[in-house]
Symmetry: C2
Subunit: 268 residues, 2 copies
């Protein structure tokens, strides 16, 4: 949570001189969250650059730069499920699938995927999910469904939707005495987290994480090494790969949802 | 958080047969939270009995049975302030003073006591408090006062009031990136904990604790040992000592507030 380089979507300029390094026909083009990687070359603050294994294929490991590392780290670094434990993952988009994969790597034995879209369940099995709950299939709160499935509550939960109700459910579904819930999704600016404080007094823990608690410069190279050592299969996170000229097709695929995860290729 | 023996103020009877062991003139007298210690002899479930050092003076170590252990444990077992860190304690009653003492034992170097009653500040110095904030003295939220005093937030906070606003303040006053807030006070049954979820995403942790996470049977004897080894001065937690016949005087002293902590002596 570096004060100087903390993510700032409004800044759009370099910190040193408050200016942009890009232009088109004399008009400035602003920087996006300190990286601006939709170009062949870019200019970044040194603190935003991580040196990774030069053998790593860039068209694969580029997906480790944001959501996937966030989900992985949320499980591995923050939720830290003990071996043999039960983990609930709220939301099976790319971040949630990465959180499931992280829970699997950490040694969880039951990984319960929760999503309103049942089309995502089959593929989520590849990421370690062993069971599924679609809240639409139940006429009681998902916390109660999970409590029944797990004799009182899950050991860990990871919330990857950004929906405030899912955040509250993710907290309230963990077991008294040792349960830990981790919030990952970015909430609406007017969202309010509400719960009865007695839920805390029963010895539960609620944490949030940013970028999965990874420090990008020092930790991202090690996430790439997980791939190089074949402990993390990056390929399964990629459903489509389109050239830059078809970038709008990639956005269309994303907008259609259904768990599509896409790479934009820079090509000459 | 034992399912069988979990505190239950409504039960009032023994678990084995659903009956009380006390009566007066043929009318049953019910058991209070599994102990009923306002009598010379009592009957308890074996799981509610802890064997302590037989050398320990019972008229002193009896104060370790509830609030004081809760406060100590909240700091030592749950907040776990690193050596040299800054801790905020919300509420300087007996539990809050014990939490301050626990923070001191754990190695915190700045312990900021927060209370609406400035009369409590002088005595709280004996329990390790180094600085004080009276929210009445400021026309901004106490979170902001603490952020200014500590360059962004305290490392740990412990809430010992049961007031829902203090709970929210205790969470919002911890530093991004590593801050941990611990809720100890028992809230009103209709209370609602509310905060913006972004406060979690900035890598803060919120935990609650019951009895300071001590397991009574196994851990209370060790708390008594802290006293026997003179690492914990129990005497300073006692302001008055009254015989059983004057028990109502003790309640009057408590109701008057001002941080009075009292022992009821059983005498023949």
């Amino acid at each position: 949570m570096c004060d100087l380089l903390r993510i700032n979507t409004d800044r759009g300029v370099m910190i040193g001189d408050g200016k942009s390094r890009f232009s088109i026909n004399g008009k400035p083009i602003y920087h996006f969250v300190g990286t601006s990687t939709f170009s062949e070359y870019t200019v970044m603050h040194v603190g935003c650059v991580a040196k990774i294994n030069p053998e790593a294929p860039l068209d694969k490991v580029c997906v480790l730069s944001c959501g996937i590392s966030t989900g992985l780290g949320a499980s591995i670094n923050v939720a830290k499920p003990p071996k043999g434990s039960t983990v609930a993952i709220f939301g099976l988009g790319a971040v949630g699938l990465a959180a499931a994969e992280g829970a699997r790597i950490a040694g969880a034995s039951r990984i319960i995927g929760i999503d309103l879209n049942a089309n995502r369940f089959e593929e989520a099995k590849k990421f370690g999910c062993t069971e599924f709950v679609n809240p639409k299939d139940h006429n009681k709160p998902v916390q109660e469904v999970l409590a029944e499935m797990t004799n009182g509550g899950v050991d860990r939960s990871v919330e990857c939707t950004g929906n405030i109700n899912a955040m509250i459910q993710a907290f309230e579904c963990v077991h008294d005495g040792w349960g830990v819930a981790v919030l990952v999704g970015v909430p609406h600016k007017d969202a309010e987290f509400k719960t009865h404080p007695m839920n805390f007094l029963n010895e539960r823990t609620l944490k949030g994480t940013f970028f999965g608690n990874y420090k990008p410069r020092t930790d991202l190279p090690n996430v790439v090494e997980l791939y190089m050592k074949k402990e993390l299969e990056v390929e399964k996170f990629i459903t489509h790969s389109v050239p830059f000229t078809e970038i709008n097709k990639a956005f269309d695929l994303m907008a259609k949802g259904e768990g599509i995860r896409c790479i934009i290729r820079m090509e000459n």
